[in-house]
Every structure is written in C-alpha cells, then in structure tokens.
Symmetry: C2
Subunit: 698 residues, 2 copies
C-alpha cells in the first residue's frame, strides 16, 4: 500500500533550498545521492534552479507528463497546510512532512496539525510526520531525509518516534557498518504510525528484523493484533520509553503522546509477541543478533573461552537469563579431551586455555556444534600473549556462515582485539563488548524461538445473557449511577459467573428473614456508597449462626458505622451465605487509555497489597492467555496445591477470567471492574464471587 | 607492610629468558621499562647476560652488597619450591610467583602449592600468586608482570583473581586512556589475598577507588571487617562471579575456590559497604565515575539533553534506579527561559533542542548546577546537524573540573561523536555510551555517598547464661546428638529468648497432667527424630480445650502417625500453650563456608516458601543491621501494622535477632539453626518461640 512512498519515481522537495546547512538543502542532497532511478523536482517560488535541477514555483507548476509519487515538505509549519492542499490538487498521494512546529509546539501547532490531517483525508494523501527526519529505503535506494549519516544496506527495519534517536542510531550504525532495510522517522504520527509500518515491514522481503523506538502507540488493540501476526514471521524488538511515571511526564511534554501505563504496555507486548528491550543498546544488540543468526531450538548453551574468569561471568549471565549450561554428551567430552591440553576444561564452559590458537578454538567449536544437547554457543576471546585474534575471528566468521546454531561472540578488551572486531564487522557479525551482552542477545534469540513457534489462539467468545446485561447497564447509565457494589452482582449472573447467595435488607425484620432464606451461617456487610473499606468501620460481621446472632450483629454494626462515619449514607446491609474452605483471589479490570480493558489477576488480601504479585493481560483474551495469567503469579503454588493441601479449582478461575474478559469487552461503558474476593474452592468445586465493585462511564 | 613489594630497589627475575615470546622475557622487558630507580637482576643458570644485564646462576650468587627486595619467579612449577627456598636463604622478603601448574592444575599442583606456602612461612616471605600475571604500580613505576599492555597512571586500584581479566581490563583501559594506581593479579592467592590488598589500597595515597574481580574470598569475617573500615574513605567496587549455582561450578573447576553462596556474598558486601557490580563493564563504569567525580549529596538528578527521546530514556533509567528527577526552583526555570528558545523544555529533563550549541548547553548547565534542589547532572548529547560536538565536550570538561556536583555525560552515536569522546578521554572523563549507563554510574555515586556517611556501629554483645549453654552444647556433642528440635528449646532460654510454655510427655497419663500444668488451651505436637514436617503426618493438634480433648487427640495422633510413617521412632509428644493473635516469623541461620553464620529473617509459612521474601546478614550483627533485616523484607508492612490493624512488636523481633546472632557466634558448633515460628505479638507484647530446629557439628 505504501509502495510509491518508499519506491517513488518522481520526488518533489517542497521548500528545497540552495543554502548550506538548511534542511531543504540537506534533503535535496540526500535525494541526489539516492538511486539513479529517482528523479528530483525542487519546489521553491524564489529560484529557478538548485544544484543543477530545474526548480518550480509550486507543485501545481510541474509539467503534466510528470506524476509526482512523493512530496517531501520542508517549508515552515504555518504554510504546510497550503503545500498539502497543492499536493492534493496536483494528485500527489504520498507526502513526508519534515517541518516542525506542530502538536509538539503547543496549541497553534496542534491546530495546524489537525488542518494537515483534514487535508490529507480530503485528498486521500498518505502522510509521514510532521516533525520528522524523513525516511530511508536501502532497497529502492531512496534517502528522503536530512540525516547526516548514510545508511548501509541491511535487513533490519527501524522506526523511531524521536528524530534524534534516528540520528544517534544511524551514526552508531555507520561507525560499525550495521545496515538497515528501511529507516523511518515517525515524527508526530499525525496519520501514518507504527501500525502501518509494522504491517509494511512484515511484508517487506528485504526486512528480517523489525526494531522500533516508541513513546506510545496510536491504536493499542490494532497494535496487538498486527504484532501477533507479524511476530510469527519476523522478530519485533521495541524500546518503549516513558516506563516510569517520571519518564511518562517527559513523554507528555516531549511529543504530547498520552503514554499508557507501563503494565498495559508490558501485557500488550507479551500478547503481541514483541521483544521489549530496556535501552537502545539492548535493542541494537538484539536486532543485530536476529539479523545474523539462526534461532536456537532450545535454551541449552555451550560456552567456549580462553579465560576461565570470562567463562564464569558468562555462566552467571546465562543463569540470570534462565539459560541452561548444556551438559555435553560423553562423545563430545572425549573428542574435546583428544585435542585440548590436559589442563583444559572439557566440560561446559569449555576452557581452551590462554595459549589456544584458532585451531584449538575451531576444534572446540566443531565438537560442541555437533553435540545434540547444545542449542547455541557463546565464544569468549581474551587477548592473551599467544592469542591469534584475527585468526580466531576469521575462523568464527566462517563457522557462523554455515552453522545452523547461533554462535555469538565476545572479543573482550581494547586495542588488542580491534583487529578481530574489524573482521567481524566486515562480515556483518556483531562483537558483543561483554559476555553479559552476548548472553542477553542469545536469550533474545531463544525467546523469539518460542514466540515464533507458539500456537495461534483466538480470544474466547463466552456465552452471556446479553439482553439482561444490556438492560442493566443502560438502566444504570440512564439513572446516572456511576459506582456499583454488592447490590449489582446480578451483572455477574448474566455472564454465568457464580455469585454467593445473598440478599439485601434495609431494616431489622427483613435482615432476619433474609438470613433465614439464605440459610445459616451468614455474613453481614454494610451497604453504603460512601464506604469503600468496610472492615475499617466495623462494616463486616462473619459467621452468624442464628437469628439472635444476626440481630445483635445488625445493631452493633449500625452503631459502629455511625461512630466511625457519622455522615455515611447507609442503604442497608447485605447478607451472604458464609463460604468456608476457599482461597481468595481478585479479578480486576482497568480501562487503559491506549489498549482498552486491562485485566488483572492475583491472590487476595495482603498478596496483592504488599507484594503486588499480580498478572495483567489486555482483553479479550484467549484460553492460553487466561491460563498464563493464573500460572504466572509468584504465589501460584498456593492455589495449585502444595504439601498435601488440596489444589484450588484453577479451571474455574480461568473460566471466570474469560467471562470477565467478555463482559468488559462487550461493555466499553465499564471503566473499572473488580471481583474481590472471588472465593476459589478445592479442585472440581468451582468458585464464587463474594463481592464486586465497578464504575460506569455515566 | 608491602612497601618493598611495590616499591623495590632491586628486583630479581628467577627464570629470566632471552627467548622472545617467553614469559621470562616479557617480565624482564616490562621491568626494564619500569622506573629508572629499579635495578634488575636476571637469574638463569644457563646464561651470563640478558638484554645487556648481568645474569646470575642463582639468587644465592647475587653479590653481597645487593639486597634483593623482590623476586619474580617464572620457572616451571616443579622447581618453584627450590627457588623459594633459595630466596629465603638469600633473605628475599617479597616474591611474586607467576608460574602456573599449582592448585588450579590438580593434586600434584596443590601439593606443590602447599610446599611453597610452608617455605614462605618458614622464611617469613610475602608471596603473590602463584599462577598470576604479576603486579604494576604506576606510582613507583614498577611493572613486574608479563602484561602486553601498558598501564597509565591513574587513581583506580584494581585486583583480579583471573589473569585473563587483568589482560582484558588493561587492554580496554589502554585503548581509552584509563589509568590505574596499582594493578594486581591475585592468582591462586596461596598467601597474600584480597584482604591484604584491600588494606594496602586503603592506605595508598595514590588510590581513590578500589576495584576488584573476585571469585571468592579467603577469610570472610576479616573481609567484612576490613571492607567496613576501608569503605569509609574509599569506594570499593567488586564483581564477584559465580553468582549462580552454574557459575559456582565453573569457579570450582577454574581455580579451586570454594564459592560461598551468593546470598552470603550479597549480605557481606552490603555489611562491608561494598558496591557490587554485575559485570566488568559495570565495574569499570562505576570505577571511572568514582575516579573523576565529587559525590552527590542526594538523589535528585537533573537531565540536560538536545534530544527529547534520550531525555525520556534517561528519566526512565533514573526511576529504575530510584533516583529522583529534581524539581527546579522557580528562579532556575525563569533563568532557563530567558536564554533557551521558546520551544525548549525548561523543566526537568531540560531539552535545549536539536540546534543547541555549546553556549546553550553551558547556560543550562550553569543554571541547574546552581539549583540547590539538584545533586547531580546527566548531560546527553546527540549529534544533530548543528551540534558542535567538540565545543560541547570542551565546555563540559571544563565545568567538570570545577564543579562540586557530579556531571556525567552520554555523547550518543558513532563517528559524529568521536571527537567529543576523544576530548573527554584526554581529560580523563568517561563518556558513557548510553544514558542508562550514565544513570547507573550516577546511582553508584549516590549509593557510595550513603555508605561513606553511614554511622559506625559495632555488633551488639548480648547477655546470656553462657554456662548453661556451654553445658548444653557440650553434653549434646558428647552424646553425638546432631539434630535438635522442640526438646532442646532450653538453649533459647539461656539467651533470654522467650519460649512458649511447654512440656514433653511420653505416655497418656503424663500428657494429660502436662496439659493441666500448662493450662488450656494447648497444642500437641509429635516428637520424632524421623519426622520433619509434622503436619503432613497428622502430627499437630491445635486448640485442645480440656482433658478429654487431649486424650482423644493423643490417641488419634498416634494412630495417624503410625499410618503415615509406620517406621518413625516416636519419642513422645510436646504440649504447648496455645498462643493466639500473633504473627509467625522465622529466624534462621546457616553456616556459610566463607562468611560463617548467615542469619535469615522472614515472615513464616507461604511467604518464605513461595515468595522467598527473606533478608540475610552475616553474624554478629549490629543494631542497625538487625533493624534493617526486619524492615527490608517486602512483607514488612504486614508486621509494621496496616489499616488500623495493630503493629507487631518489631522491637522484640530485633532483640531476638540480636540474641540469635550472639548464640550462633558463641557456638561455631551450631551448623544450622531455625526458630520457626517465632510468634510475634502486638506492639509491646513481645514474641515467643514456638518451635526450633538446629544441627550440631558432632
């Protein structure tokens, strides 16, 4: 769909300039160094010719025979809408607005940006930017940017929401010879944004790896959907900044992006099969690994080193990343012993000793490559007196080209390993500057192997009495009732979520008769729109065994509550069947501004409060996602059953999660939602919602 | 004490060689490039002269007038003891054994190493090594190593247990011009080890920062003591490898070091005021920061950037490290506004915008340096079109030289920031290659500020009835009783630790009379050396209210236990007063092979089991260490009191920790120890030990 954007025949530069140092000149020069297939048309009303190219006063003046595929706009912000209008009238379908001074610059800029969007919509123009560095496509040979660095051809596609990070990345890549397939500065993402390019990169045959620096996403649910699809064929590595609340503030003042909560991003990235990296350094480390290596089919790693200390550091790093140190087969150990010196360590990590040359390294590498227990190899080289650094680098490079297992290396040191680094660079092979970074990149390869091979699952569609639910929500909305509690538990019944038998009563006689109807023992809870923590005000009484108990409890509760909160409006009490022998869990939902309904699961009480031991996923969720939510909390063993204690009914939790997922997906009106506690009974005995709170958008 | 080792007049090289590529030649050449004050005496029985120096057949042949201060030994392992013996007879007091083939090479090597140790002890010789690279002292101008790189003069002292890591570090340092005061390859640490050099570095006026790569420590308690002292005046940054169990295995096969458990190292490092780094990269990053910067007096950081994206990444990194983004004073913001362009961000992170030159950077830097709310500054520079990289680097370098606050920088990119990097290198200032690494180093500075300024506390000496305790332990030891449980709770009484009223009974009639004596309600627990998890076999009965209850419980317990464990030896039951209303915590101790008694504290039951939410410290502990153990667990709020619930008696936990610390320090015979649970009552009501298990070294 964006074919002509990246592979244009005729490119106009609106605002082309002769003046050195001006963006309008830099863009023109970069275009002139682009492929010979690209024809350039400078547009500038004040001059006739720039750098030997005929210049037109307006895009409307371009001769009829020429169909401009792409216009790059570098004029001041306030005249950009005019330029876009002219593009539209001239039939230009693709534009890149490099100019700054839009949403990022305040209210007037935001207005100008909206004007640009309207014009693009009117003329059906696809726009990148505004406020960006431009784009580079090394396949078509297009450089429509004002980048000062050149991009080498490569298989990594990169997009960035920050122009400066484009600059930093290109400068870094040029220094060590890392190439890109496509390089896109997203700017303010007024129209085209990450989702469009994720899809484009997914289809782009010259792209093997997708990397991105993002400060936010425009359409969260679509982002998850596209990522899920694209990550099946290509690894996606993203740095999402603004993780912290402090960072988030910086994002807002930077490009005006409304950053989603980090928990939502984490959940969305996991569901989308995205590899999240914590820094640019990590993103580039991982992308380079994906760019070069086959995927390891497991997490068993061999380490080869000429320095015991480095081997231990690498082994530590493997353990930190939950990679295993492979156990070699007998045959491997014997064959290593045959050629390595007696003092060498032939177990993993293999220590070929300080005086090893390329031959010994090669022998060790060949042997561990052949071992079926080994999925990937880390080679560590320290520049000792006898170390043939270039020879070892050449040997490793040739092995990497033919190996079906990834071989990541760390030549450690300074000047005396530079020759080795250089050789690897020439072959496009990364030299990781530390054992830890080599191991982290191996881990990324392993993780992507799992992502690529995971089974595809659609979100589960759960049955519900949607008529009742609709009626209920509409009624509450029309009555303007925003906060709901115990009294609204019927909404759960509509989604077939078991609810504790309960009744609401407003005066003593009703209270007793309700208790009798439910059957003893019962629990009594205060009902008040003003009280959220019932325990704090004496608003809960447990284990009431008969009518006398109920009467006494009711009276003392009313007196306690009046004592603690004299002004609270009391709407009655709720009586519930007392449920014993279960474990308390919480299922919640918070509507994230970027991804929508963010589900939460955790064990109740102190576990959630102090340990924050909860899991998240964006609804609607699939069956494996629901199972993963339950099993990924640290306290999972407490409900999975331990030391002879009966296991809880995990399946009923999974079912309830799926039902809540359905409910909050069906009703965007529900802003927050919580079943707390959901009492989970022993295996096979189901679960039952004991209390509920939710907020409607009224 | 090691003065002549590092600043010798006469240095002998035993095993000096003419042959290029031999270690005996490399050492000689390095010595010849040392200070002119050093005189070199090659020792080799086969030749008369090497490289113009007169060569002697043996150190015993050195003329009488010459007093050899240091002998560097590079002969084959099997003749090293002979050489040491000759050194001893010649009155040499300091030797460095570079030769390999000792403990690291197997049984025969270990025997040779012990022989070397005996000889050194006999002649009172101080020995570094064997199996090391040698030492470098840039103050005295000594290079007694076979390192291929030269070391620049600097203020970082470094020691490493791996020769290859010495090589890697020196090579890296030479490339970017990082200097060292002293550089020591520890080798096998047969005699001199980390503790000796920690002390040496502590006194060395040319050393500002102490860094080390360690795989283990020789004397744990002394290591903590020395570190506590030295860390008050100089930062100590250590990479301790073998963190993981996998890594630990690699350590064992590498240098034969028995690696302590990582928890013990973590605790010891914390108590010693050591900054632990996770990788060599981090160690070098932090050491360079300490080498250059003043300490920040707080954790409020200002960020200055010419790229919004980098600023957000830095802010994220600050938040990850619990550094605060400083809030500027009104005046600062106004003064920033005066000179920065309107679109700039004058709040923190300060964005001077992409076209900022050195002047704007300087203005921003001056303003935030002046702000009393700012303790440290991170400056980020991306190479944009107008960016004067060298100018900015020069400006920053000159500011750093006079600033009383640390200014760490990250010039981000490749070729286009190289000129800036070069300028910083020349000034000895680190350029951190990423915002994250600059922030991590700032965090290390902040952490050391707290370490340096912490109050000194001695371990608390607690009173005890040591006579009884001695009698008890001696009796158990002489009787060969290794495992102790409930029946041995009297040992707690000797240390004034409150114990639940309890009695042991062996037959039904005693059981009932014991219960009556204790007073109802009581708890009954099975006593058996074969049963460790009482609950699993029905070996615990709670809340027995009267004699009938006790009788019924006793009978059914005996039948249950026989059913589950027919072969268990049953020595009786214990009756305890039933204690209600407390919270269960655990206090434990495990004797670490390197550090001795490692105390553990955590909340009881599932918290310890599934969440591993525990804290550690090496006994004996001080009062603040005991308090820290209690307050540093994540579940601390659950005993500190929440939501109107009464706080637990934290003080009684602290007291009990100190008493246990005393007990396990007094009796090295106690190998493992656990009070589980210690029932902690509400504030002011104390605590009481409910059960106990410990193991004696019999």
């Amino acid at each position: 769909m964006l074919e002509k954007m990246f592979n244009p025949k005729w490119v106009a530069v609106i605002g082309a300039s002769r003046t050195e140092g001006k963006v309008g000149r830099a863009v023109l020069e970069n275009l002139m160094e682009s492929s010979n297939n690209i024809e350039i048309i400078p547009i500038n009303p004040k001059i006739d010719e720039i750098l030997g190219l005929k210049c037109y006063p307006s895009i409307l003046d371009v001769p009829d025979g020429i169909r401009v595929d792409l216009a790059v706009i570098v004029v001041p912000a306030k005249v950009v809408p005019g330029s876009i209008d002219e593009c539209g009238r001239a039939g230009v379908e693709n534009i890149i607005v490099i100019s700054a001074g839009f949403k990022e610059a305040g209210v007037e800029g935001a207005r100008l940006e909206r004007e640009c969007i309207s014009l693009c919509e009117k003329y059906d123009i696809k726009m990148i930017g505004p406020n960006c560095l431009g784009i580079i496509d090394t396949s078509s040979g297009l450089n429509a940017s004002f980048a000062a660095n050149k991009a080498y051809k490569g298989n990594i596609a990169m997009m960035s929401q920050s122009g400066a990070i484009c600059t930093v990345t290109l400068d870094w890549a040029e220094r060590i010879g890392v190439g890109f397939s496509k390089f896109i500065s997203l700017g303010n993402k007024a129209l085209l944004a990450e989702n469009d390019f994720l899809e484009l990169f997914g289809h782009d045959s010259s792209t093997y790896v997708i990397s991105a620096y993002l400060e936010g996403v425009k359409d969260g649910p679509e982002f998850i959907r596209i990522s899920q699809h694209v990550s099946r064929s290509k690894p996606i590595v993203i740095v999402k900044s603004g993780r912290s609340s402090v960072g988030s503030r910086a994002v807002s003042s930077h490009t005006g992006t409304l950053a989603g909560s980090d928990a939502a991003y984490n959940a969305a990235f996991k569901q989308g099969g995205i590899i999240r990296s914590d820094s640019l350094e990590e993103m580039l480390d991982y992308s380079r690994a994906f760019s070069v290596y086959p995927l390891p089919e497991g997490r068993n790693i061999a380490i080869i080193t000429n320095a015991g200390g480095l081997g231990i550091l690498a082994a530590d790093a493997c353990s930190n990343k939950s990679l295993s140190i492979a156990s070699f087969e007998e045959g491997t150990i014997e064959r290593l012993q045959e050629k390595l010196p007696a003092a060498a360590n032939v177990y993993n990590p293999v220590d070929v000793l300080g005086d090893a040359g390329a031959n010994l390294y090669q022998h060790a590498l060949d042997m561990v490559l052949d071992d079926i227990n080994v999925n990937g190899i880390i080679v560590l080289v320290s520049p000792q007196a006898m170390t043939d650094v270039p020879g070892i680098a050449e040997m490793i490079a040739s092995k990497i080209k033919t190996s079906s297992k990834p071989i990541l290396c760390n030549f450690a040191g300074g000047s005396r390993i530079a020759a080795g680094e250089e050789i690897l660079n020439v072959h496009g092979i990364p030299n990781y500057p530390s054992a830890e970074r080599a191991v982290a990149s191996m881990n990324a390869l392993c993780n992507y192997y799992s992502i690529k091979n995971r089974k595809q699952h659609e979100p589960v569609k759960m049955d519900s009495d949607s008529e009742f639910a609709h009626y209920f929500i509409e009624k509450a909305t029309s009555e303007g009732i925003r906060s709901h509690g115990l009294e609204s538990m019927d909404i759960l019944k509509a989604y077939d979520i078991p609810v504790v038998p309960s009744k609401i009563a407003k005066k003593l006689s009703d209270v007793i008769s309700s208790a009798e109807e439910i059957g003893y023992p019962v629990v009594m809870k205060i009902l008040s729109p003003d009280i959220s923590h019932k325990t704090d005000v004496g608003g809960i009484r447990l284990n009431l065994q008969h009518a006398d108990d109920v009467e006494r409890a009711y009276k003392s509760m009313m007196s306690d509550v009046k004592h603690y909160m004299p002004d609270a409006r009391i709407t009655g009490v709720q009586l519930q069947k007392m449920i014993d022998g279960g474990k308390e869990v919480i299922i919640g939902m918070d509507r994230d501004p970027q991804f929508g309904p963010l589900l939460m699961f955790g064990l109740g009480g102190t576990y959630v409060e102090f340990l924050k031991d909860v899991s998240f996923a964006v609804a609607p969720i699939s069956m494996p996602e629901a199972k993963k939510m339950v099993s990924s909390i640290k306290t999972y063993p407490m409900i999975a059953g331990v030391r002879g204690e009966a296991a809880s009914d995990i399946d009923s939790i999974v079912q309830t999660l799926l039902k809540v997922s359905q409910l909050v997906t069906d009703f965007p009106e529900i802003l927050e939602f919580e079943i707390n506690p959901l009492m989970v009974m022993p295996e096979g005995k189901g679960c039952v919602a004991m209390d509920i709170r939710f907020t409607l958008n009224v």
